[in-house]
């Protein structure tokens, strides 16, 4: 997990790793591929849930997933229905996203992110806007990701969730790594222990 105060660089780090933003300097590898030199390879292996949902307001929930699946291939297309059910969206599959609450949008954005069978999953504040049942659905999805061997990088302020679900923790301060170690050793919210 990655944590740190607001503006410490968590979201930027995730966006740089997903190749959604370019790094000013430094190097990074994702799944063994350099983010500068092998951007296409990185993109094939990474899924990002950012602050923006990446959804089309004018389309229905199902259409949003189908659009993403049409670029990912038949395996992803076959999982659309299952993911809709998994995230409690089956009843609202035909509703336009513009009619969704923030929590429902987050569920759909999570389903869209997990539609891709990625080796590395980057989740930026995935618990934000979710209700308690949504928390449980997300925890279950994270367990499933770990079970299939995916690497999950979670940016969150909710240390309790991070401690329970994550192995390693990074604390950022003003864009720099301030602390790293086992997640269970994290003590104070948003600060190095």
């Amino acid at each position: 997990m990655v944590t740190g105060r607001n503006g410490s660089g968590k979201s930027t780090l995730l966006r740089v790793l997903a190749t959604a933003a370019r790094a000013d300097r430094g190097t990074a590898q994702v799944a063994g591929h350099d983010i500068r030199d092998a951007r296409a390879e990185v993109r094939r292996r990474v899924a990002l849930l950012g602050h923006d949902s990446g959804l089309y307001d004018g389309l229905t929930a199902r259409q949003n997933l189908e659009v993403a699946a049409s670029f990912l291939g038949p395996a992803a297309a076959a999982r659309v229905g299952a993911l809709m059910g998994e995230f409690g969206l089956a009843d609202r599959a035909g509703d336009p996203v513009s009619a969704f609450s923030a929590g429902m949008r987050k569920r759909l954005a999570l389903a869209r992110t997990l539609l891709k069978d990625a080796e590395v999953v980057l989740l930026d504040e995935p618990y934000g806007e979710l209700d308690p049942p949504g928390f449980r659905l997300l925890d279950k999805a994270l367990d499933a990701l770990k079970a299939r061997g995916a690497t999950v990088l979670l940016a969150t302020h909710l240390l309790e969730h991070g401690r329970q679900g994550c192995d390693e923790a990074l604390v950022l301060e003003e864009g720099r790594l301030a602390w790293s170690g086992p997640a269970r050793d994290l003590r104070e919210p948003g600060a190095a222990p």
Binding site: R43, R44, Y56, G58, V67, S70
Partner: protein
Amino acid sequence: MSHLAAALRKDLLLQWRARAQVVAVFAFGAAALLLFSFAVGPETTVLREQAAGFLWLGLLLSSTLTLAESFHAETEHRALEGLLLLPASARALYYAKALANALALFALGAGLVPVMVILYDAATPRIPALLGIILLGSAGLSAPGTLYAAMTSQARARQTLLPLLLFPLVVPVLLAAVKATSLVIHGDPMGQLRAWTLLLVCFNVIHWSLCGLLFDRVVED
């Protein structure tokens, strides 16, 4: 090719879901044609002579609304970025969007023809030729228009920037389309239609090739 088909399906779906916007743009174009007729006056001969120019001016003005709107949905929640990270081919996304915009502009242009006929008494029996010119002109507006719409989609003054960038570039399209349309309506005794149509084709070949190559730089940098 599969990415192009997927992106085109997505763009046509978005346009279908936003069809109320299409009606509003058509109303805008029809209102522009009506205002042009008021500006010229009731002289039927003059109106008929200027019909082709007014049709294309109406379509050009309306096109900026269609083109700008086509990228609104892509940038609102970073949906385009989400597709690029899947990863979808930027070139496929461009060609799908440009094709969908060209079809929307063609439908708009074809829809404005009856308005032109009624307001300017500019009927022609050569409907297939007229529709062919509208198709070529729409494609000529769409290719650079889609690229510029992507460039300006994040700008605060995008509604002003897009026409400022687009209009100077599409002057050859406007000239050729107006001349060709006028020749279709009024007759072509000197056989000039072929030359103007060829200019439209050449403009399309150059811009559909060039803009497809540049789109990647626009959305990634």
